[in-house]
Symmetry: none
DNA sequence: TATGAATGAGCCTTCATTCAT
DNA sequence: GATGAATGAAGGCTCATTCAT
């Protein structure tokens, strides 16, 4: 399996660094190859084309993301707790890998519509996880019986995404992880008064 | 004033159509000129360069956006009502101009970091409007005194944006406007139970 | 006659200034029109096309050049004296009009081969004057009977031209007129010893 | 070293031919590539940009020029002899490569001021050689002690340049090399009588 | 496997000239 | 005569991908 060979990872990791530091449009294959310490042609022994590097990168990181969050959630009983774990993990993991944060929040969105659709396919795994938490909460009576799960998922993901993007656009100047708890509170209670 | 001349509008409108139908990277200046019914060179009598078309397009539409929403809000007393008007207007205006929806949600985000920052400057006018509604609600006691306005704004904008993007990615198959009311309810009350 | 109308001169003079200050390739017709205080289209009432401005400019200035030199020479008897007058006048006139010096020595030479041939036609009037002085000197016995007039003309013109160009390329930092006498001495006596 | 690779020379040589035959402004990169038998992109593996081809071309040819002339001069003792060798070599080398003659005398001068200054830098090597001959001659007493070397250099180079340009403008119809001896005589003795 | 030299398609912008007013 | 808005052709350069070694 190619995905387990060292050069596969080398190239993925190089891509993250090169895209974060140079921007999507200045991340030429030759630059990625150089950063990875391989020849340009070698890239094509591991990836179908440039787009394939980007999708693989996203799959790879997103898979790790979902996996870690599922671990965190495993022990929790309450949906609200699970949600907090998710927001915290989401913010923390991107805080800890600033290159990755730049790539996912800014650079990868510059890709064309086609690639964006493929990235969205990968994202579905994460969105499904959000929906599962919401469905659990609804079943257990913790969330309203008439909660529109799709809309609620859009609120949750949209809010987290916007919060992270704002943080990245502000050059990651403040502590993102500290926002997990207040953001969670907003998501559960809304911005209205009780 | 160039911005009031008919060709200025012609070109802006042509750009929206061409970008929506062909995608950002396939929206050549010559294609926009043809759609606008002018010569390639004429574009440069009204715009500094291709990027300037995009920024002007965004300023133009966003200005109209903010203006319309402010009109709608004007008569309302309650912050919650204002918020509903905003979500409704946001969804309705993008529903009514499907080309524009594609451009703002998908295509314009493919622009490079530089252009993205300029677009963000324009966006600030809208975000300020959201924050004004929140501040009003907090002052009137309608929203909690400890509401973090910035975070709440991120929730509101993030949720609307994600909702519209999901709708566009699903090829605008369902009625976006109908989601305004339930989305508003979510934003006010959160996804938790009372 | 168009050539006597005030706008004709206005445009020629504007062209000299614009070319000297902006360079040949940055001397657009619209810039010349603006400097001349006329509309772009007006240029074409007085000149066939852009090339025609340049040729006319050169004809105009060169005509004045030859005329002035002929005046200076008129009274002189000796060919060597005439030659000195010519070198002095040549250097002085270009010293006094630095814009013109830049245009003739640097900018006009960037024109294409076609225009260069036309400029050469105009130059022939000046070259003929040089040859006349040489022929006079040969006839009067002042210069050797076997003097190759064409070659001598090339030496004289080439030397003057190179001297002026070097002066312009050195940003006209030194007194060009002061070089007339030593240059004349070199042309008459060569660089060898008597 | 890129400069020793065969494609480097191929492209330089192609550029000379294409520029001579089509003129500077009609010498598109694609034309040069075609003539060189390489792809357009290959040009950019060997040259930074189009201007770099021209500068390299000039450096290359001028380097060869100076080298050849220095070889010729090496054995000579008298400055006048050296000067003759130089004029002869200069005329002969341009006679033998008519394409190159057109390029150096007409086409390369159409380049913009910036490139012109770079070309001038290269030319300095040749001008220094001329000055060295003159200085030698002055030291040895062959030339007058008060000879202004800079002016004499301007006479010599200006005369040679004008002679070659006139020959090229006359479509190289006569034997340029035959002019070396009479031109040399003029330069040494001037056009005056002993 | 790995290399890296070579390929070649594709587009924004300028500016001399025209012509309706 | 005078205007100036409109025209439209034309080319240098980048970079993802290939393939002979």
């Amino acid at each position: 399996m190619k995905k387990t060979k060292p050069k596969y990872r080398q190239i993925i990791d190089a891509a993250v660094v090169v895209i974060a530091e140079n921007g999507y449009h200045q991340a030429q294959v030759s630059k990625i190859a150089k950063q990875a310490g391989v020849a340009d042609g070698t890239i094509y022994l591991y990836f179908k084309n440039k787009e394939d590097i980007l999708i693989s990168l996203f799959q790879d990181k997103m898979g790790y993301f979902v996996e870690k969050i599922e671990e965190k959630i495993a022990g929790k009983e309450k949906a609200a707790e699970k949600l907090l774990m998710m927001v915290e993990s989401h913010f923390r993991m991107l805080s800890e890998d600033r290159h990755l944060a730049i790539v996912t929040q800014l650079e990868l969105r510059q890709s064309n519509k086609d690639l964006r659709h493929k990235i969205n396919e990968v994202l579905k795994g994460y969105l499904a996880l959000v929906e599962r938490i919401l469905a659990d909460g609804r079943e257990s009576g913790e969330f309203p019986a008439d909660l529109d799960i799709r809309l609620a998922r859009q609120m949750i993901f949209g809010t987290m995404d916007e919060t992270v993007t704002t943080w990245v656009m502000n050059e990651q100047k403040y502590d993102l992880t500290a926002l997990a708890e207040p953001v969670h509170k907003l998501l559960i209670g809304g911005c209205g008064k009780l």
